[in-house]
Amino acid sequence: MSTPIIDCISVCKYFTGKNQITKAVDNVNLQINMNEFILIKGRSGAGKSTLLNLMCGLDKPTSGSVEIENEAIDKFSNQELSRLLSKKIGIIFQNFNLLPTYTVFENIEIAIDTVTDKRVHNKEIILPLLEQLGLTDKVDFLPTELSIGQQQKVAIARTLAKKPLIIFADEPTGSVDDETASVIIQHLLLLRKEHNLTLVMASHGSTLDKYADRVILMQNGKIN
């Protein structure tokens, strides 16, 4: 039996509006094993992104608990959470979230600066990754000088550079065309295999179903 690396126990996340409470995630119980590729599917507003944010510690649940490696991350202090995010978790966003005034190299460097051994030169980590993703000639480019697909590749490289245990990807192909999406997914799967990563991905389409170890469907904040 595989070891669960992520354990969501009765996780709820409610948002309070002016006159109503929105149940973005409602009593979700989910276990994700080491090296597993989980695809969370659902329509827009189903609660996929909120669940992803809860699992990676960007948000705290209204009730319930999220455990990573048997530690309840919702009880973590800011410092512990920062350590978790910088060392064990990598997040890929739909809109990439690259820093627009930093070059490709600097965007990656800024993510690993707190993690890497100072004796190891950042170039030794970053350049092979960029080479693998076909971005060697874009090292000194600003994100605005790259295509959408290249920007997402930089975002992937930034996540992988710190060698995380788990990657959370929120609609990583949502902003790109099918061809680019396919390339990005192929890269992600290859890198996942290479680095023995656990991959939790949110998507509203069905194109990725065939690659996932498990597909979870979300509707109205609940897992069906």
Binding site: L58, N78, R83, L84, L85, N97, Y102, R158
Partner: protein
């Protein structure tokens, strides 16, 4: 730190504008400090000279005249109590006496004078002999003061060289005296005339108008000259007892009340006489001092508000980046440190440039002689420049608090939802 500098460089215009703000704020603060400080200094110089003097004497019930000095009567080391003679119902200068403020006085010792000089806040204390007698020649009571003319206490309590209106200020020998203008006019005296006092012939060498002074007399001479003139009237045969009034000048009129109180505590028999001019001038100085302090406070608040606004605007612009950095594992402490460091660097650079610019501006103002009062030069001290730089740094530090609190309160998830 490299990300701090990188961030400042990457948003060059924002950094330049922010630093410009500090430059302008520092420039105005220094100019205001220079103006208020010099204004305060100039007004204080004028006001501190008003009412900063008073006299000390020990009243007696009987005249000091031809009474042999009796050492057995000295119960206090500071002054001598004359015990012989009868108390008189009214002051009568027929036979002459040491006096002050219209009453007979006792002799005071040099020891007491030195004690007064040691009191905190006393700028100068000088000996004074003030004697009055009825002169048959003029059919009037005529007073004479023996003073130390070089003392500032004498100049403010009795008369000063710039009070002279005719002739010379200082007599050169024991037969010369200076007369008050009122006395000279009353008896139609002119420079070179001969005066008669204590059976001696004296020559008038100067006419003076000393104004309203506590130690005012009809005639003036030096302290030693008067001792010589009155050698037959006063038996100053006890060492150290040769004055009857102590003239005091204090450093600051605001401290005069405390100085007088301290002397009163030192010697309970002493009478202290002042025109109380120090009270309004002390009040004015106090008002100016408080106004300056309030102005500095307002400037400091302005600086903090300005810096806080700059930092908050900068934070709002950077919130997206901060959300990204938080999601990558940057701690609140590290992000807060970046904001503080960035803010401090901008404040430091801005305040240094501001200091340089303000020095240039002050030089220009002084070059074109734009002054508050005549001969007043606008200047600023190095310590004041340091103070303004420190103020800018403290302001920058305080201004960073709001953005830091905001970062602390917002989770990465909140930022993602709201700003990305």
């Amino acid at each position: 730190m490299k990300y701090v500098f990188k961030e400042l460089r990457r948003h060059l215009w924002r950094t330049v504008l922010s630093i410009s703000g500090y430059i302008i704020a520092t420039l105005f603060i220094i100019l205001i400090i220079a103006v208020t400080h010099n204004n305060k200094k100039d007004t204080d110089t004028i006001l501190m000279g008003i009412g900063t003097h008073f006299t000390i004497y020990v009243p007696s019930g009987m005249p000091y005249n031809n009474v042999p000095f009796d050492t057995t009567c000295c119960t206090e080391p500071e002054f001598c109590i004359i015990v012989s003679g009868e108390n008189q119902s009214s002051v009568d200068f027929r036979n002459g006496s040491l006096y002050s403020d219209g009453v007979y006085t006792k002799l005071l010792s040099r020891n007491f004078l030195n004690q007064v000089r040691q009191v905190k806040g006393v700028r100068d204390a000088a000996p004074y002999l003030l004697y009055k007698r009825f002169e048959d020649h003029y059919k009037a009571d005529v007073s004479i003061g023996g003073m130390d003319p070089g003392s500032i206490a004498t100049q403010n309590n009795v008369c000063a060289p710039n009070d002279i209106i005719e002739g010379k200020f200082l007599p050169s020998d024991t037969s010369e005296v200076v007369a008050e203008e009122s006395f000279a006019r009353a008896f139609n005296l002119h420079i070179g005339d001969t005066l008669y006092y204590c059976d001696k012939e004296l020559r008038l060498v100067g006419i003076i108008n000393s104004g309203v002074k506590p130690g005012k007399a009809d005639l003036y001479t030096t302290f030693d000259n008067l001792k010589y003139i009155l050698k037959d009237q006063l038996k100053l045969n006890m060492s150290g007892f040769d004055l009857n009034v102590i003239l005091v000048e204090v450093e600051d009129s605001r401290n005069q009340a405390e100085v007088m109180e301290a002397i009163k505590i030192q010697n309970q028999y002493a009478s202290l006489s002042s025109y109380n001019c120090y009270k309004p001038s002390a009040n004015v100085m106090s008002i100016i001092g408080k106004a300056s302090a309030i102005l500095y406070g307002i400037i400091f608040l302005f600086l903090i508000v300005f810096a806080a606004k700059t930092q908050t605007t900068s934070l709002m612009e950077r919130l997206r980046e901060i959300g990204i950095l938080k999601s990558m594992g940057w701690s609140n402490r590290r992000l807060g440190g970046q904001i503080v460091a960035g803010s401090l660097i901008q404040a430091l650079v801005g305040s240094i440039f501001g200091c340089v610019l303000s020095l240039i501006t002050l030089s220009i103002l002084n070059y074109f002689q734009i002054q508050l009062v005549d001969n007043s030069v606008l200047n600023i001290q190095f310590t004041q420049l340091l103070f303004v730089c420190s103020l800018a740094l403290v302001g920058a530090l305080l201004a960073s608090l709001f953005p830091i609190i905001k970062i602390w309160r917002l989770s990465a998830g909140d930022i993602m939802r709201s700003y990305l």
